[in-house]
C-alpha cells in the first residue's frame, strides 16, 4: 500500500477548486457574499424600526414631513443597488419592494417593477432562494400583468431544481388560473392541483392544497372518501382506491 503525504490546502483564495470539492476559500467567499446581504437587510430593518418609532413620536406636520424625507430606504438604496450590481439577486427583491418609499412617482413604479422582475427572471430563476422572487411576482401581479406572471411562474416551475419552489409556483398558478375565465385555464389549474396532491404532498404547498381542497363537510358519512397515496416504510406505494370493492377501515395512529 502506498501512503500519500497529507497535503495541506492553504486557506487563501486562488487555489484552483477541484471538481466536487469545496475548498475552504470557496466556503469563506460564499459566506462573505451571503452575509453581506443578510447583514445589510438586518441593518436596514433596525434603521426602519427606529425611524418608525421617531415618526410616531414626531409632532406636527412639518416634523413628520421632514422625517419622511429621510426614509431609511433612501439612505440604504445605493448599498442595496451595489449588491445587486455585484450579482446579489435578493437585493433586487428588496429594491422592488422599496420603490414607493424611495419616493418614486406612482407612474414610474410600474415600469421599474417590470424592469426588475424581468431581470430577476432572466438571471436568477434557478436560484435556491427564488421562492422570494416567486412571492414578489405574485405580489406585484397588477403591475407586471397577469399573463407575464403566469408565464414567469410556469418557467420557474420548469427550470428551478428546488422541489418546494416548484410546488410554490404550481400552487400560486392554481390560485391565479382559477380566477381566470375559460375552460383552458381551469383545466390547467386542475392538472396542477393533481400534480401538487400527487407529487408535492411532502411540501408546504402540497399540504396547503390538500387542506384547502377538503372541507369538514366533505368528510361526513355519505361523501366519497378523499383519495390518497400512501407509502409504507419500505417504500411500497398504494392508493386508497386500490381497495375499491372492499370494506375499509382507516386507522390513523401513532406509537408515540
Amino acid at each position: 500500500m502506498i501512503s500519500l503525504p497529507l497535503i495541506l490546502v492553504p486557506l487563501v483564495a486562488g487555489v484552483a477548486p477541484q471538481e466536487d470539492q469545496v475548498t475552504p476559500s470557496q466556503v469563506l467567499m460564499e459566506s462573505i457574499v451571503e452575509d453581506a446581504f443578510i447583514d445589510l437587510e438586518a441593518e436596514f430593518n433596525e434603521a426602519y424600526d427606529g425611524w418608525r418609532a421617531e415618526l410616531r413620536k414626531a409632532k406636527g406636520i412639518k416634523a413628520k414631513r421632514a422625517l419622511r424625507e429621510k426614509h431609511p430606504v433612501r439612505l440604504f438604496w445605493d448599498r442595496f443597488q451595489g449588491l445587486a450590481d455585484g450579482g446579489e439577486g435578493r437585493a433586487l427583491i428588496w429594491m422592488t419592494r422599496s420603490l414607493r418609499n424611495k419616493g418614486l412617482r406612482l407612474s414610474a413604479i410600474a415600469p421599474e417593477k417590470v424592469r426588475i422582475a424581468k431581470l430577476l427572471l432572466k438571471d436568477y430563476s434557478m436560484a435556491s432562494w427564488f421562492g422570494d422572487g416567486v412571492d414578489s411576482f405574485v405580489r406585484d401581479r397588477k403591475h407586471l400583468g397577469q399573463e407575464w406572471v403566469l408565464d414567469a411562474l410556469r418557467r420557474v416551475a420548469k427550470v428551478n431544481k428546488d422541489h418546494s419552489i416548484q410546488a410554490q409556483c404550481k400552487y400560486e398558478l392554481v390560485g391565479l388560473l382559477r380566477k381566470l375565465e375559460g375552460k383552458q385555464a381551469l383545466e390547467e389549474a386542475d392538472a396542477l392541483m393533481a400534480e401538487l396532491l400527487d407529487h408535492y404532498a411532502d411540501t408546504e404547498y402540497g399540504f396547503r392544497m390538500r387542506a384547502e381542497r377538503t372541507r369538514p363537510e366533505d368528510l361526513k358519512p355519505g361523501k366519497e372518501a378523499p383519495e390518497f397515496l400512501g407509502r409504507t416504510i419500505d417504500g411500497h406505494d398504494f392508493k386508497l382506491s386500490d381497495y375499491r370493492g372492499k370494506v375499509v377501515l382507516i386507522d390513523f395512529y401513532g406509537f408515540w
Binding site: G230, K246, L249
Partner: protein
C-alpha cells in the same frame, strides 16, 4: 391494537381491509411498534409529516374512518369497537346483495 388484530382475524375471509396511517413516529419507534403490536396489515408511514392525516382533518389519535366497498364514508370516530357492528352490517349487506 389487540382489538384490531381480532378484527382482522375475524374478517380475514371477507372483503375487508384495515389500512393504518401512521403519523409522528420516527422510523425506529415505528418498526419497533409494528413488531410489538403485531401490525400485519398495510400501514402508510408519514414520519414527521402528515399529509394524509391533514387531508382527513384528523385532530386526535386514534381516529377511524369506515369506508364502504364503493369508497363512500360510512362512519368516523375515535373508538374501533364502535366500528365493529357497522363493519359486520356492511359485510352482511354485501353478502346478501351477492347471493
Amino acid at each position: 391494537m389487540p382489538h384490531l388484530q381480532e378484527l382482522v382475524k375475524l374478517h380475514q375471509d371477507s372483503p375487508f381491509a384495515l389500512i393504518g396511517v401512521n403519523t409522528g413516529d420516527d422510523p425506529e419507534t415505528f418498526r419497533k411498534g409494528v413488531e410489538k403490536h403485531g401490525v400485519s396489515w398495510i400501514s402508510a408511514y408519514q414520519g414527521e409529516e402528515s399529509p394524509i392525516a391533514d387531508l382527513y382533518k384528523v385532530s386526535g389519535y386514534p381516529t377511524y374512518f369506515l369506508i364502504d366497498a364503493k369508497g363512500i364514508i360510512v362512519a368516523s370516530g375515535h373508538s374501533s369497537s364502535a366500528m365493529d357492528p357497522k363493519i359486520k352490517q356492511l359485510l352482511s349487506d354485501m353478502k346478501k346483495s351477492r347471493d
